[in-house]
């Protein structure tokens, strides 16, 4: 039973590392930006700029954190 739990945990850890990687904050910002884009797209305001802005903000933040490590 313990082996199965360990294997499931290892399987989950592999996919987490594969998709999310070293900085989970990047994934969170992408999800929030997608949600904001969807929300703004339902109004009369243009929403195309939200994703590029999110990338422009999270990439240097993530790099600076990595540099400090």
């Amino acid at each position: 039973m313990r082996t199965i739990t360990q294997r499931l945990r290892a399987f989950g850890a592999f996919w987490y590392d594969f998709v999310v990687g070293d900085d989970w904050r990047v994934a969170v910002v992408v999800i929030v930006a997608l949600a904001a884009t969807y929300g703004v797209s339902k109004t009369s305001v243009a929403s195309w700029w939200i994703m590029p802005l999110a990338v422009a903000l999270i990439l240097p933040a993530s790099l600076w954190r990595a540099r400090k490590k």
Binding site: V26, V30, S41, I50
Partner: protein
Amino acid sequence: MTGTGGALFAAVFLACAVEAVEAVTIVLAAGTARRAWRSAGYGVAAGLAVLAVITAALGPAVTAIPIGVLRLVVGGLLLVFGLQWMRKAVLRASGHKDLHDEDAIFARELDAARGAESASRGMVEDWYAFTLSFKGVLLEGLEVVFIVLTFGANAHDVPLAALAAVIAVVLVVAVGIAIKAPLSRVPENTMKFVVAVMLTTFGIFWGAEGADTHWPGNDAALLVIAPVVALYALALVAVLRRHAPKPAAAPALQTVEH
């Protein structure tokens, strides 16, 4: 081939070539160190078989998802994935992370393989060579499958993405077999940087489209997003180089060659 089709082909080709170079290095190390080419070959075949099953299972499922949802989910995943590549690429180019060096990886894998115990299981004479090759092909291949399916499904052109992947893998494997040495002359770090730019670009574009955005200029927006992402990344490299660790000189954006 349209402009988007060309960009799709280039992105998938480069990404798959990079992954294939890494897989070839691992398999070469397994075969060379252990003199167990047959076992390494079985490992490659087993890895490819598992990848084929994963592709057969995920492919139809991915292409069956409505395009809006697909672009939202896959665009988001692609962007997270692309930013991971971008982060590593910028850190490498600015001297904060070691450059990806196939010769060094090959030497490390050789050492580990030579020191490992030999054991046979079933029809596999050298279990270590088998598992090393299997894991190398499966792990690098998973990224190939992910990129082919996400790019192909989003662009409504899985066959083109698959063709780009097959050409890249066949080319790299053929060169690897011909020279039986790690492909250290491939400008892998530069290729990784370009792939990171393309993954991020398509992730931004498709993710936003999936969230119901209409890009000014439609597909032509990609022609603006890609260079802007590239220039932004290069600017970050320039800024980070100023804070690079002192002992290591800031390296050029290319593979270290010996």
